[in-house]
């Protein structure tokens, strides 16, 4: 490998071992690296050669699976598409995503996020279910364009780590889940909007957002969750007045 000639970078990690550490601590290593090495590869070097006990999540290594989200020098990023060369000469501090409970080292507990994800009925609810024989639900490119970017979410939860409102109140439904909800509401083949408005309208729905906007800034897939959330403030207001003004039974509820 010729490690003697290789340049080294200091990688500092937040570490927490349940049952051993009362609170997280940090540990640093000097890691040999090349210009094409990602932060994830740096962590893999540590695990393979320096300290096998370091725990972190990863899978695809190409910004598709959404597993390796971490705080890299305080910014939520995917470790696989962040390069060590950009952190010279000071080195890099890697922490688990903020606002989530730490399970161990860089691994966070996503259960709250996953439960919310299920709650928005993230699937097509057609007005008239079709049989396979009747063929697919058709849609024009323009109709697809209305929701396509919101469908690009990889559930990496970087936006939750970016959202101080979620940090202060974890009951807030949060950016990615509301973006996914919007993705189905905007789909011309879907008729499940009325069922999802309950989540939108709730105190911890879109109204928990104060438009900090950092969620959209950190999103590695250009989903723009802040836009989805704030579109639905308008939808929620319309829904409120519709329910207030129209006679009972004439609306969805």
């Amino acid at each position: 490998m010729g490690a003697a000639q290789k340049r080294k970078i200091r990688i500092e990690c937040l570490r927490y071992q349940p049952g051993v550490d009362a609170a997280p601590r940090t540990q640093a290593w000097d890691v040999p690296f090349t210009d094409d090495m990602s932060v994830l590869q740096g962590l893999q070097h540590i695990k393979d050669h320096l300290d096998g006990s370091l725990t972190f999540r990863w899978s695809c290594r190409m910004a598709v699976c959404g597993s390796c989200g971490m705080m890299i020098n305080g910014v939520p990023k995917l470790a696989c598409e962040t390069f060590l060369r950009d952190y010279l000469p000071a080195g890099v501090l890697i922490e688990p995503l903020t606002h989530f409970p730490i399970v161990r080292d860089l691994v966070i507990d996503q259960s709250d996020f996953l439960a919310k994800l299920e709650s928005v009925r993230p699937y097509l609810i057609p007005a008239q279910p079709r049989t396979v024989g009747e063929g697919p639900y058709r849609q024009t490119p323009a109709q697809m364009d209305a929701y396509y970017q919101y469908s690009q979410c990889i559930n990496c939860t970087l936006c939750y780590a970016a959202c101080p409102q979620y940090g202060m109140n974890t009951h807030f439904t949060g950016p990615a889940v509301l973006a996914l909800l919007h993705r189905y509401n905007e789909d011309s083949r879907d008729a499940g909007k009325a069922q999802r408005m309950e989540i939108v309208n709730a105190e911890d729905g879109v109204w928990g957002c104060t438009l900090v906007g950092y969620c959209s800034e950190v999103c590695p897939k250009g989903v723009d969750p802040a836009r989805a959330v704030n579109q639905n403030k308008i939808e929620s207001t319309k829904d409120y007045f519709r329910n207030l003004l129209l006679p009972r039974g004439s609306t969805s509820r």
Binding site: P101, S111, L211, V212, S216, A226, R227
Partner: protein, 130 residues
């Protein structure tokens, strides 16, 4: 279902951690300048109701050098506050398509800011000529 023995880090001081959060807090705090400006105008209206002498006294109080300095600072803060809202305006709008193409966010921000500047100039023009 939550994993036992997790550790949740405190969030205190979150807004100091990141330049983006500091800009957000500045946006929220500059609303105080909008309140100051609105109160100042309300006082003027109240003095106008009391009669010409009261109104002239109010105008004279505004002409004091320190009040002019304070109002210049307030104007700068209000302008910044307005700009930050134009910056996030695209987030509040549905996608707009013109001639089969989606209008880029930057164009929406620019259109809002230009409209605000033009409206301000019209008001200034009316104020100076009428």
């Amino acid at each position: 279902m939550s994993t036992p023995n997790t550790y949740t880090r405190p969030i205190a001081g979150w807004w100091r951690r990141n330049p983006f959060y500091r800009a957000y807090i500045l946006r929220e705090l500059t609303c105080v300048a909008v309140i100051v400006f609105a109160l100042e105008l309300l006082v003027g209206l109240w003095r106008l109701v009391q009669g010409p002498e009261a109104f002239d006294a109010w105008r004279a109080s505004l002409a004091q050098p320190w009040v002019i300095v304070v109002n210049c600072v307030v104007l700068a803060l209000v302008a910044w506050h307005a700009w930050t809202w134009f910056e996030v305006m695209p987030k509040t709008l549905p996608f707009i398509n013109l001639g089969g193409r989606r209008v880029p966010d930057r164009a929406i921000v620019a259109a809002g800011a230009i409209a605000a500047v033009v409206a301000s100039l019209v008001v200034l023009f009316l104020f100076l000529t009428l």
